[in-house]
């Protein structure tokens, strides 16, 4: 985008031959993605909006019922509220924890030590493990009777936990598990860290600042765009959490892990209430939109881009 802009003299509408060619080819190459978006994303999104205004249940006839689905959701469906609460609880736990841990891991991976590439591989590896395998693995770790986690607690003289099998500890357990998959965020942070200009560190050194000052006054401000990006991606990702409930807990015990999307899935495909599920999808869409917008708006107060002043 920036490159194209610099090629265009401002105010001049006629494109040069090369620019026009580049534009055309650019659009052409992007066409699969553009068409894909319109056919497979935008189409279903609009269809879902229409369905959400009906009482369509698979196999039955459809009638328009206006905003009834939305009203039921808010006024009557206790599980809707519960699933929203559970999901927000999970997000509030796993997003900050994920940011802090992946940032810390990235800092460590940015050190000059022997075998660095091995460490980087190890920390990224869990991302490559399919979620199902990942979940099965954690089911063993969480096993209250002979799981590794309880063995560790036991040998440290601490009381054992029921982990995902207890209403109270189920979500914290899954939050703990989520920290295992921070590889992606860590790699992005790592890339960000390597882009922090070295002369700023030198400046701190010349002024006699230590590691803490370097971190606080150089690393952190320079990393805010990366933190911002990871934050947005993580919020969107965690609000759509599904696999753990599907594979590990089936939403239990007593709906303690009834994640929003899992409940939506159950409504749609077990209880066949497609219309209601569509309405739920739209509500989540709006929630994520609003949250993302909020984060974006807040970014002007804390995200710093090099070369720009704080605006």
């Amino acid at each position: 985008m920036n490159r194209a802009m610099t090629k265009l003299p401002p105010g001049k509408m006629r494109l040069s031959g090369v620019a026009r060619m580049e534009r055309n080819w650019g659009i052409l190459f992007a066409l699969p993605a553009i068409l894909g978006f319109f056919i497979f994303v935008l189409g279903p999104i609009i269809a879902a909006l229409v369905f959400s205004l009906t009482n369509w249940s698979i196999g039955s006839d459809m009638e328009f019922i206006g905003l009834d689905n939305y009203r039921t959701m808010v006024a009557e469906d206790t599980l809707f509220t519960k699933s929203l609460f559970v999901t927000v609880y999970y997000a509030l736990g796993s997003v900050p924890l994920g940011i802090v841990i992946s940032f810390a891991v990235a800092m460590l991976l940015n050190q000059k030590v022997r075998g660095l590439s091995i460490f980087r591989t190890i920390y990224y590896l869990p991302v490559l493990v399919p979620t199902i395998a990942n979940s099965m693995l954690w089911l063993w770790l969480f096993n209250p009777d002979f799981g590794l986690l309880n063995s560790i607690l036991d040998s440290a003289g601490l009381p054992k936990s029921q982990w995902i099998y207890d209403e109270g500890t189920a979500i914290p357990s899954l939050i703990l598990m989520s920290t295992w998959g921070i590889g992606n965020a860590a790699v992005i942070f790592l890339a960000g860290l390597q882009g922090v200009p070295g002369h700023l560190y030198e400046a701190v050194e010349i002024d006699g600042g230590g590691a803490l000052r370097k971190f606080w006054h150089v690393t952190l401000p320079s990393m805010t765009p990366t933190i911002f990006f990871n934050l947005v991606m993580m919020i969107i990702g965690t609000l759509q959490v599904f696999d753990q409930a599907y594979v590990m807990t089936n939403g239990g015990p007593n709906n303690a892990t009834l994640f929003y999307i899992f409940y939506l899935y159950r409504k749609a495909f077990t209880e066949t209430h497609m219309a209601y599920a569509s309405a739920m999808a739209w509500v989540l869409f709006l929630i994520i939109m609003a949250l993302t917008a909020l984060v974006f708006r807040s970014s002007r107060f804390w995200v710093y881009y090099e070369g720009e002043g704080r605006s």
Binding site: M21, N24, L28, L31, L35, I58, G59, S60, E76, T78, N143, P144, D145, F146, Q162, Y165, D166, E167, G251, G252, P253, N254, N255, L258, R266, A268, F269, T270, E271, T272, M274
Partner: protein, 468 residues
Amino acid sequence: MKKRRIWVVLLLALCLALVAAACGNNNTSTTNTSNTVKDDAAVKETVTEPSKDPVTLSFMYWGSAFEKEAVEKMIKAFEASHPHIKIKGEHVPGDFTTKINTLMATNELPDVSYLGEGLALKWGAEGKVLDMTPYMDLYPALANRLPQTYYNYAPGKTIGTNTAAEIITMYYNKDLFTEGGVELPPTDGASAWTWEQFLETAMKLTKDNKGNTAIDAAFDPENIVQYGISFPTWWGGWYPFLLSNGADLTNEDGTKYAMNSPESIEVFQKLQDLMYKYHVAPTATQQQNMPATNVRLQTKKVAMAIDGQWALLDFASTKMNFGMGVLPKFKEPKTIILGAPTVIFSSTKHPEEAMEFYVYHNNPEQVDLFKQGLWMPLEEKYYTEQDAIDSWINNEAHPAEYKEAVIDYTVKYAEQSPSYDLKNFAEIDPKIGAALDKLWTNKEPAEKVLNDLEKEVQPLLQGKYSNE
């Protein structure tokens, strides 16, 4: 100018490719129906004419790889004896409900299919599933099945029966009974254990790591190595006892929640006590991490296990001295019949051929799964006529007690599970399951759980199909 032309040509080519792809897609999914439309006229003639045009039926089913093998064998045999019918069997190992819902939404349903009870009845009432009532005279093998196995979406209107019959039964490791000097569970429903007898036996068979049983004063509930009993925490594990104690999920016509009746509370409290008061049953959490029933018994983790009759199949691979007995009772001896139905969708173009296949696909003479212990037959004669009984239980898979403990018990004491009749059960069941988690994890006593559950379940009650 030239460049622009290339651009346009490319764009057109791309659009063409997309359209072609879309068409191709359509083609594959509709060939079936378009073929069948063509055949339709011909089929109508075949009813009167012996020269039959080929017909292809699609059949969707679930089950283990083991079941898949048996079903494929059955399909081959069917095609051999019915040369004009070809069966396109599709085994769906994963989320069957999701798949069938999607097919229903896109109108690409198979002709014959296994189907979850809730959907089958709902779609039956909406006319999406074939009403088999008119075919009863034509197929005595369909008409003479166990009365409890019919799924009726309205009085006298049936969409067929279970794929196979199943009941909830009790397995046990005989060696552990001999070891402990305890009397074996009764096999005759009439002499079923009372709850007290059952509890006492379970206590005698529960051992800690020092060899004390739950009856001994020195018994250490923190270090149990062998439990007396394990039972499933889904409705298969407790609904038989509700019936036995004269309780039910709802009132007679399915409009009023009734799981907080004193009889129901008694049942659930006693089940919770097995886990947390007497420590004779593994807790729900422990059970989730336990192996299958046959291995539990074989490895002496439990002495008795309540489970479905279908679990018998697994015992063939477990070399152990096991037996089967009837469930303990509260007031009346009771168990339940359960099992999802096989249905024919009304959208089929070949109802006659589909019916032909329907009565064949779970005929014990054609499918090995009955002899192997996974399925129980549906026709009454397999429960009452000695020759027919021998034909499926006279083998290694079925233990000596089977005739009395399963066959006679089924005929005399098995009632329908709630999924046969209660409307909206597919939505009610998860609510009950979630609330009972509090019971099985000992968070709250039965009375509180069941009273609190009323406000969850009551709004979902829509009556029963038999009351239409």
